[in-house]
């Protein structure tokens, strides 16, 4: 890293020079610059996705691709500039860290400004740092895995991320090590017309176990920002990775994220993905079940309020015998919001004895709001089972009447039903996050009853 305390704001827009400059600022090795430049070509060559929500509001030339607010990266909150520290204080991050986190990372604009891991975790050989640091300190590991789960040419936004990535988390858990407390990263966008492109890589070696939580927020601006992250998770034999997201971007952010994992023999990968914010959210956490007995569980929750499109779901590919997956998707649309489920389950030939269960339901709270389901199932193996249940509909009038007959007014009754509908999510979150999640849902529900 440059030892300067100066702010850096690269000029808006994207070309090869911006890619080179980012790499230079970070003082990167040649191989990483090559990785970026190749990816930039893929990005240029690829058209915008021809499916899904309208992305024409993204102007690649109006975005800032690298913003450094402070070059200080610290493990002490008090070292951060006052204005930045206050933001995290308000969000309760330092408090959560004290209470129950094993490691914490805070990313501000393009870079991680705070990172700290409890000593007992470090002593176990657990690595949790930002990915820029990992490129400098653990180049061999990064080189081995980066772009292997999500190829730089996977899709236009994965290509973009690969070209201009900055920040994100690098987690390495050695063989047989169970991380005793969750690791958390918090992402913040404070600038208008910002592009945030964190790159996260989680490697759980054989028999390792780790829970990673991420939260995010942004200042609301009238002009669009873009958040295009790539997250790669590798769960080796017998490993367990649980990845939880509480996404609460402001409603001017396009959130186009590629999250994917490999699960080897007997490994278990969980994605718990809650999407409350953003203007357009496209996110389909994926698991490739590569080894026998590997399992996947994906819980995806979305709330689409006025002006929002939540296009969420998941993807699971069963590549080995006796692999299991459950996908649960619950979404809520209100005030004209749109909540789609988009999912893919593929069972490859030879994945005998595999089983996949998909349940997706969408609650539409008013006439203006919509939701579609696009489930895609492909079973190429006779001795494998897939099931799929879908529901799109309004709040059950009988449930509403039942609660109202017990003294709850319409708003309280609807809140109760909605919070019950997504209760599975709440049960999955650490207490502090569950409270925050419920609070965010309630704020969104305010005034929902005309």
């Amino acid at each position: 890293m440059q030892a300067t305390d100066e702010e850096i704001r690269l000029r808006k827009g994207l070309d090869e020079n911006i890619v080179r400059e980012i790499s230079k600022i970070k003082n990167e090795p040649e191989w990483m610059l090559d990785f970026r430049l190749k990816a930039y070509k893929y990005f240029k060559d690829r058209p915008m996705p021809a499916w899904g929500p309208d992305l024409s509001g993204i102007d690649f030339n109006s975005l800032s691709y690298f913003v450094r607010e402070t070059s200080k990266k610290t493990s002490r909150w008090e070292d951060l500039p006052e204005n930045i520290r206050q933001i995290y204080d308000k969000l309760g991050i330092p408090e959560a860290e004290k209470k129950f986190l094993g490691g914490t990372e805070a990313m501000f604009e393009s870079e991680v400004v705070y990172n700290r891991v409890k000593k007992e975790l470090e002593d176990l050989g657990i690595i949790f740092c930002d990915t820029d640091t990992a490129v400098q300190k653990y180049p061999e590991i990064v080189k081995q895995y980066i772009g292997k789960v999500v190829s730089p040419n996977d899709n236009k936004f994965a290509a973009l991320n690969s070209a201009v990535w900055s920040g994100g988390s690098f987690v390495f858990v050695p063989k047989g090590v169970k991380v005793p407390m969750p690791l958390q990263a918090y992402f913040r966008i404070n600038t208008s017309e910002m592009g945030q492109f964190e790159r996260t890589l989680i490697i759980a070696e054989e028999g390792a176990d780790v829970e990673y939580i991420e939260g995010c927020s942004a200042v609301m601006y009238s002009k669009a920002s873009l958040h295009a992250a790539v997250v790669e998770v590798i769960a080796k034999k017998n490993a367990h990775v649980k990845y939880t997201t509480l996404q609460n971007w402001s409603n001017n952010v396009y959130n186009l994220v590629t999250k994917r994992s490999f699960a080897d023999e007997n490994a278990y990968v969980e994605w718990v993905d809650a999407n409350i914010g953003s203007k357009v959210n496209m996110k389909y956490p994926s698991v490739y079940l590569r080894g026998e007995n590997a399992r996947a569980r994906i819980l995806s929750i979305a709330l689409a309020n006025s002006g929002q499109i939540q296009d969420a779901g998941s993807k699971v590919v069963h590549m080995a015998p006796n692999t299991f997956s459950t996908i649960t998707s619950k979404s809520i649309a209100l005030n004209g919001g749109k909540a789609n489920y988009r999912g893919l389950v593929r069972i490859m030939k030879g994945a005998e004895g595999s089983k996949s269960t998909v349940k997706c339901s969408t609650l539409l709270l008013d006439e203006k709001s919509t939701g579609d389901t696009y489930p895609y199932t492909e079973n190429n193996e006779k001795n494998a089972v897939t099931t799929h249940e879908a529901f799109v509909g309004k709040i059950n009038e009988d449930q509403l009447f039942y609660l109202m007959s017990r003294g709850l007014n319409e708003e309280e009754a609807i809140n109760t039903i909605v919070l019950g509908f997504i209760n599975e999510m709440v049960e999955d979150l650490p207490m502090e996050y569950a409270l925050e999640f419920n609070r965010l849902i309630k704020i969104n529900m305010e005034g929902a009853v005309a």
């Binding site: 609660l403 109202m404 007959s405 017990r406 003294g407 709850l408 007014n409 319409e410 997504i422």
Partner: protein, 239 residues
């Protein structure tokens, strides 16, 4: 002393008239039995009294302690002390029972009571395992368990007027006895409309009056002799 009066009540679902000029008056300390064959309008009357918006009121009114509540939403009726124990209590996924009971109690009565402790004591009395109160509202409950939970709410919320819509169906004989005893106890503070299919229940309850409903109209009212008549001849004699 509380009182509910149903006056010349005519109610429709869509264009279909289901209740056709019902009159009823129930006061604290009284149990009124409402009997009638399937589809005669018993549950509709219960729902309309409680304010189910599925039904529209074409004529008549409902007066609660002198106040016209015909157009009040259900929660306003509940807050005034009206309660309905549903015939088929609905499952509500993800809603923890104890949390729900606390919310309902707070909405109707305000703060004060230790709702959880109180609810657990009632559960004991009803032979409903305490653990069940930690589950989701009615989710995967048997018919009998649902009825017990309705009764538990009736006791907890201590209404002025309570409607029990077939609280006795699907209960085993011992539970039925417990339920009838509890109704007698509730009656001391509450006026009760007890809808039942069972002549046996009707006979065992110390009732003020028996009302027979057929095709949306009250066709006979009187004492316990009516139960005997129904037992012997069914509802055919009213047609």
């Amino acid at each position: 002393m509380a009182e509910i009066e149903v006056k010349d009540l005519t109610a429709k679902i869509g264009e279909k008239e289901i209740l056709k000029g019902i009159n009823l008056r129930i006061r604290t300390g009284e149990i009124h039995l409402l009997m009638g064959p399937n589809g005669s309008g018993k549950s509709t009357l219960a729902n309309v009294m409680m304010g189910n918006p599925k039904y529209s009121i074409a004529d008549g009114k409902i007066v609660f302690n002198g106040e016209d509540i015909t157009n009040l939403p259900a929660y306003e009726r509940a807050k005034r002390g009206l309660f309905l124990a549903f015939q088929n209590p609905i499952e509500i996924e993800g809603v923890n029972i104890l949390h729900f009971l606390r919310t309902a109690y707070k909405a109707e009565k305000g703060e004060g009571k230790n709702v959880i402790e109180f609810a657990e004591n009632i559960a004991n009395e009803l032979n409903l395992p305490r653990e069940m109160l930690k589950r989701q509202l009615n989710v995967n409950f048997s018919g009998g368990e649902r009825k017990k939970l309705e009764l538990l709410q009736a006791i907890l919320l201590d209404p002025k007027i309570a409607i029990f819509d077939e609280i006795d169906s699907g209960l085993d004989i011992d539970t039925l006895k417990t339920v009838i005893n509890l109704l007698e106890k509730i009656k001391e503070r509450t006026g009760i409309l007890l809808i039942t299919h069972s002549e046996r229940t009707a006979e065992e309850v110390d009732s003020e009056e028996v009302h027979v409903i057929l095709d949306g109209k009250i066709v006979e009212e009187g004492g316990k002799e009516i139960i005997k008549k129904i037992k012997e001849k069914g509802y055919a004699s009213y047609r």
